[in-house]
Amino acid sequence: MKQLAICLVIAALAAGCASKEKQPDASVTDRSAGTTPPSTSTTPSTSSTTTPNRDTNVSGDPLRDPNNILSKRSVYFDFDSNAVKDEYRNLIQAHARYMNDKRDSHIRIEGNTDERGSREYNLALGQRRAEAVKKVMTVLGVNDNRIETVSYGEEKPKSQGHDEQAWAENRRADIRYQGE
């Protein structure tokens, strides 16, 4: 009986300190994807490159017109591969054409991987995917110094799952325009 009481005291105290340890849950999850569909609630990040308000009139901006291919920004990859699949050629060509028209535009291509494998090696693999998309664009005439490639590796998964569907979603390179 006495033991039980002590256990209860411990449990109560432990619960007390557990809740004390709890951080006020940050209400924000900045996935830092300018490419996330409008349904996701992106929140302002600390950086100056936040996504402009989506409520503004988008009709004049082909990059935001959901009927325009330029609003599509993601190129998906097979496991362990950085080969750009044919189905994404049109998308990349459209962005290359747009950049050739808008000579002051700059982009960043952000590579991502699924969670499998070593974290640092995945960072380099994501970089390789971003480079692969960049290469297609430079072949199409976009100047090298208007494209920065970076990688988030497995650090910023768009899908949080641990199955093939989630992994496929995360093997991706996103095109993001400067100022987005």
Partner: protein, 424 residues
Amino acid sequence: MLKRYFLFLGSLLLALCAHAQLSIDITTSGGRQIPIAIMPMPGEVAQPQVVSEVVAADLARTGLFRLVNTIGITPVPTEPSDVNFQDWTGRSADALVIGKVEPSGSGRVEVRFRLFDVQKQSQLASFSYVVPPAQLRATAHRIADVIYEKLTGDKGVFSTKITYVVKRTGRYELQVADADGFNAQSVLASREPIMSPAWSPDGSRIAYVSFDQKKPVVVVQNLAAGTTSVVANHRGNNSAPSWSPDGRSLAVALSKDGLTQIYRVAATGGPAQRLTDSTGVDTQPAYSPDGQWIAFTSDRGGSPQIYRMPASGGAAQRLTFEGSYNVGPRYSPDGRSIAFVQREGGRYRIASMELATGQVTSLTDGALDDSPTYAPNGKMILYETQVGGHGQLAAVSGDGRVRQRLTSSAGDVQDPAWGPMPTN
């Protein structure tokens, strides 16, 4: 007696609330364990830390010791003349630890301990420490270090620190804790990922990869001063810092010239000197302890494998040949082995390779193990594993026999790095 009990409970709970963010489970298979009796130390329960319990937990955690029951030994021996060795041969103890804790004026306490060889009935060590009560836990670790070294011949690592990244929803923290998971302190918090922490050889600084600038950048943080400086922020990615043994430079992976390659930068920042020039991805550099070599991952041969090159760059030699995925090398402190991540049948495990023979040993059986890091005595390898879809830390002995799992309810725990031996 009751009062003593409550004091003990109180200190336990205090420890739970304030510190215990990682708890440790150990499994061992085979091999001889040294039976050791660690007596309670009179006076210790009045203190914020119960010294004999911390010592016992340290030794038990290694898997190399078996704690012998000390119940029923009265009076509790505190001096050599109090010890009845027959008590201990009867309980099959090979070693005995006794001691006491007493106030020693101006708020400090004196801890005295003695270690005996039971069979030889001789004293192996005797030390006294006068410390503030707040340092009793650290003192207990030092005592455990002495005992471990006397009985195994290897340096103990109970006074060392570890660092790792804790990931909660939308929040990352770089934490530094004692090697037993206690005293966890957050040294950095961010809403962006933190990766690949690496201790400077003197333990005063940690280099890591920050995404605060919306891309990976290498930062060095001075732990005592809390100051940070960006040491690599070139176009593209900056990652995978590894300190040179003299602490003056870092090998890093940069993508400023296209695909990721290895460069050297001064620990204070400045221009990057390119060390590899391959047509593939070169990353995850690791300096050998003698500073002569850099081991790294490269897929120049078609699949990611481990190579090494002279630390100043130059021709690389391939080290791994079995399997299609061997990455992330880390040298053992004696420079004779590397630990790395290997993929086999879709599972990612920690393995080690003896460099002289090329002999590879698989050490773990997880599905997604990563980031091996040697204890500074080379006896254990700390790494990241997945439990129920969450990152947790685990450790395995160099022969795979002893395993520890450090569990935390705090979120995902990942990317561990074991700090150097304390300098004092």
